[in-house]
């Protein structure tokens, strides 16, 4: 933990240092550049506005619409002035408008400086000419395409490395899940940037109409498409958030309907299962479905008569037949919603056991969906540590989980996630146990009972 922290600090420090050196170096080149204040102001203005349009991408990072202006600047003004455009825009939009911490702002500005200088070098060496972009087939077109792609790769990589150092997980997985969404976004914006570059270098906007009108057209060419793109992305993102919240609310309502249920159980299971899934580096969409399944895994209990749910389990060898139906009922409640089918499968299978002795279908080993295996583990852990009945301490619960691996649980899942489970308990306190259980009662809790939650 401490080591990772130190790595992150060292990484951020190195990037910021590199950024400062890069800025200084490009200032020294300034003498040879022929550039008006008006051009710079236009690019800085556009970049500052677009830098506020940020959308999150899978894998933990975020991308900004200023990509379009950076790319345009790179191929029309050259890398040296563009690093200053980027720095000023980032400091304006993140430091002044959004008031983010200075280190963060400096990091974001610096990694853009480094990528721009790197891509500028690539562009020139591939035969790209600054200020004379030519789209006819030939080396210039190749340079433009490669430049756009390397800018996308580098910008995504810097941030993903930082996220990896902060939150752990494999770099390659994180990168591959971040690059896809960033490609759609950056690709659309690279197209806008290319258009800006072409219009700008044609000086067309200065002919015929007064120059402020030309500037307006140029600004509109960048702002309207980027704004529309941003609006659509934001709408999609906000709806996903609302959706998740609705599921949580409805899940907890259904939970409240079940007599003897533990309030907050679904939410805790969802949180833990999603963390375990993240640790297993599953794809983001699957993690989302596991989270949904966590909220909803016991909703089928509304269909089970409350007399059965509350019966003292000590008197039963197994679980009553009717209670066993809850997994299936839960899945059928979700069946009209096609989007939730993966989650419904997990709900249906969350009482299956690795050894095939679970219910409802008695699936074995890898026939059980992976999400359901993760869910079963989280459900069992939360059931042991948070229930009305005497609870176990986290350490005892983990010991039990380990004992039950290969009988109840997927040994691989248990093996890979127990560390993260321990870390969750040690540091985050998110799933900390309720007050230590009375030791005298604990002896009554047999293994089956504790795990049957």
């Amino acid at each position: 933990m401490a080591l990772r922290r130190a790595c992150l600090n060292a990484y951020v420090g190195a990037i910021i240092l590199g950024g400062i050196v890069g800025l200084g170096w490009s200032l020294r080149q300034w003498g040879t550049l022929d550039l008006g204040a008006w051009e710079l102001a236009l690019f800085i203005g556009l970049a500052s506005i677009l830098d506020v349009m940020v959308v999150p991408v899978a894998g933990g990072g975020a991308v900004a619409a200023s990509f379009a202006v950076y790319f345009a600047g790179l191929i029309t003004l050259g890398a040296e002035p563009t690093v200053w455009v980027a720095t000023l825009a980032v400091f304006w939009s993140e430091g002044v408008v959004r008031r983010r911490p200075l280190v963060r702002v400096a990091f974001n500005a610096s990694h853009s400086v480094l990528s721009l200088l790197g891509v500028g070098w690539i562009y020139k060496n591939l035969g790209g000419e600054v200020g004379r972009v030519d789209l006819s087939l030939g080396p210039n077109l190749l340079a433009v395409v490669v430049a756009a792609m390397s800018l996308w790769l580098l910008e995504t990589a810097w941030v993903t490395i930082a996220v990896k150092l902060e939150k752990g997980g494999g770099l390659r997985r994180r990168l591959s899940s971040a690059l896809g969404p960033a490609l759609a976004w950056d690709g659309a914006l690279a197209s806008v940037g290319l258009l800006l570059a072409l219009l700008y270098q044609s000086r067309w906007y200065l002919v015929g109409e007064s120059s402020w009108q030309g500037t307006l057209v140029l600004g509109g060419t960048v702002l309207i498409p980027s704004g529309l793109l941003f609006y659509a992305y934001r709408l999609q993102g906000s709806l996903q958030e609302v959706y998740s919240q609705s599921l949580r609310t409805l899940g907890s309502l259904l939970e409240a309907k079940v007599e003897g249920g533990q309030p907050g159980h679904g939410e805790r299971v969802a949180k833990l299962a999603a963390r375990l899934a993240e640790h297993l580096e599953l794809p983001p969409a699957q993690i989302e479905q596991i989270r949904y399944a966590g909220y909803l895994h016991d909703i089928g209990k509304v269909g089970v008569p409350s007399s059965l749910l509350n019966r003292d389990r000590d008197r039963f060898c197994g679980e009553p037949e009717a209670l066993r139906l809850h997994a299936q009922i839960g899945a059928s409640i979700l069946s009209p919603v096609r989007f939730l089918q993966p989650a419904a499968e997990m709900v249906k299978a969350h009482h299956e056991r690795w050894d095939g002795l679970g219910y409802p279908r008695g699936l074995r080993q890898r026939d059980i969906p992976l999400g359901a295996r993760v869910l079963a583990l989280a459900d069992a852990y939360i059931g042991m540590t948070h229930s009305a009945q005497p609870t176990l301490s986290p350490e005892q619960a983990i010991r039990r989980l380990r004992q039950a691996s290969t009988s109840r649980f997927d040994p691989v899942v248990v093996g890979e996630t127990l560390d993260s489970l321990i870390r969750v308990i040690d540091h985050k306190g998110e799933t900390t146990a309720s007050p230590p259980a009375d030791q005298g009662h604990l002896s009554r809790v047999n293994r089956d009972q504790a795990l049957a939650s």
């Binding site: 072409l198 709806l239 609705s246 409640i333």
Partner: protein, 462 residues
């Protein structure tokens, strides 16, 4: 336009054919006039490029709520109109339709092409009348900066003509007022128009850049398609959200013999009343959400024991009962998703036990203070409670229930809503279906009786 259109409706058929015929006559006239000004190979080349764009964006429709679809094609249409003029733009529209609407019947195709032609012709007429110029037909560069009014009027005209012509067709088919249909099918119209019109204009502007032309237009299209994908995802999320809330709120009631099907029936009655009272489509949708969620505040473990206990509720129990609309409003707020319904569903849920004379709860609102939707919901709720056949009480006949509602109209219930319900009943349009009789729980489980699909009811209501 995706609504199923039956060719058996003669009025509709005549309407479709007339619009189609008028459209084609106008197109021939426009083409002859345009031919007189000369047609170059270059023009055909660029128009072909725009035709390709129109087909490309037309192939990727965005599914909107309630089965309607839309595309981002308006931007391309608009650009081709101010670049080439109405004749060429109309041909682009007609030919792209020929490719895109291959499956539909010839009457539908005929109408759709006519509709497109008329909207281009009308928009072109307005544009020229206000001093607008077409890029293709002017020697020097068109200064779009000085044509603001003409451009806006042109876009609005084209949009209004085409959406209205479609709405009339749907309104004939569904026997509803044109405005109502317009509201349902084109509810995202303002957003779409505001987003796409500037985009189209931008396309026309960059098309004029020397040496760029169609390349610049193509570059602009990439972000447009990107936005279309994100917007499509958002629309799907809306639909999924609705399905999910329906399914889960249904499950909340399904296994409770006292409330089973209650919300579904209340929704049906309230929507019938709302339609009778001619509420607009967006208001009906808000009402539908409120009906689905109106009793969600009752989801607590001690609710049934309080309600079923004989005798008067104690002060504390009464407090809990009065609390349920407040709790329901709070929960409904958490589930709202559309920017334009912000808080409205929650307000209706909160107010559904208010009475006109101010004796209701939780806020003691009076008369017009209570929103119309909440009053409609109140009537539907009471009506369902009286006519439902429940295990613990006898069911009242519909006449008795209406009598009771009439007695309390003006003090407790909204008289207009009660009237609407009565006239629906008299005309035999009220489909009163008593709540499904209580099935013993075990039997229900064994036979795998699971909550019915809510989405069907939702679809039927629209």
């Amino acid at each position: 336009m995706n609504q199923a259109m039956s060719g058996r409706n003669p009025t509709l058929r005549h309407y479709l054919i007339v619009i189609g015929a008028v459209g084609w006559v106008v197109l021939i006239w426009l083409s002859v006039e345009r031919w007189g000004r000369g047609v170059s190979l270059e023009l055909l080349w660029d128009a072909g490029f725009f035709l390709g764009l129109a087909i490309l964006v037309g192939l990727q429709p965005v599914r909107m709520s309630r089965g309607a679809t839309t595309t981002v094609g308006f931007a391309v249409d608009y650009a081709s109109l101010v670049i080439f003029g109405p004749a060429v733009a109309a041909w682009i529209g007609v030919l792209s339709f020929a490719v895109l609407l291959r499956q539909s019947s010839w009457v539908k195709k005929f109408f759709n092409t006519g509709q497109v032609i008329l909207s281009f012709a009308g928009a072109g007429y307005v544009y020229e009348a206000l001093g607008g110029q077409y890029v293709d037909l002017t020697a020097e560069r068109v200064a779009f900066g000085q044509l603001g009014l003409a451009l806006i009027a042109c876009g609005l005209t084209s949009y209004t003509i085409s959406t209205l012509l479609i709405s009339v067709a749907v309104s004939i088919l569904e026997r509803r007022s044109v405005w109502e249909v317009w509201g349902v099918i084109f509810r995202w119209t303002p957003v779409r128009f505001l987003a796409l019109a500037p985009f189209g204009l931008l396309m026309a502007m960059v098309y004029q850049a020397p040496g760029l032309g169609v390349v610049a237009v193509a570059l602009l299209l990439v972000p447009l398609i990107g936005a279309r994908y994100a917007f499509h995802g958002a629309m799907e999320m809306l639909e999924v959200h609705r399905e999910t809330v329906w399914a889960l709120s249904n499950a909340l009631e399904a296994y409770d013999p006292y409330t089973r099907n209650h919300s579904e029936l209340v929704t049906r009655y309230a929507l019938a009343i709302g339609q009778e009272m001619e509420l607009t489509a967006p208001r009906l949708e808000i009402l539908e959400w409120a009906c689905r969620l109106h009793d969600i505040g009752k989801c607590r473990q001690d609710w049934e024991s309080i309600i079923r206990k004989p005798g008067r509720p104690s002060d504390r129990e009464w407090e809990i009962i009065r609390q349920h609309p407040i709790e329901g409003g709070r929960l409904a707020e958490k589930m709202e998703f559309l920017p334009h319904t912000a808080g409205e569903v929650a307000r209706i849920v909160r107010a559904h036990h208010e009475r006109l004379d101010g004796s209701g709860y939780p806020d003691g609102q009076k008369g017009e203070q209570i929103s119309l939707e909440a009053r409609v919901l109140g009537v539907a709720d009471a009506f369902e409670a009286m006519t439902a056949r429940r295990a613990y009480k006898a069911r009242r006949s519909v006449e008795e229930a209406l009598e009771e509602l009439r007695r309390c109209a003006g003090t407790q219930f909204d008289p207009r809503a009660v009237e609407a319900l009565e006239s629906l009943w008299e005309r035999g349009e009220l489909d009163v279906e008593p709540s499904v009789e209580q099935t013993p729980m075990r039997e229900g489980l064994a036979s795998g009786v699971i909550p019915a699909k809510m989405s069907e009811a939702a679809g039927g209501a629209g």
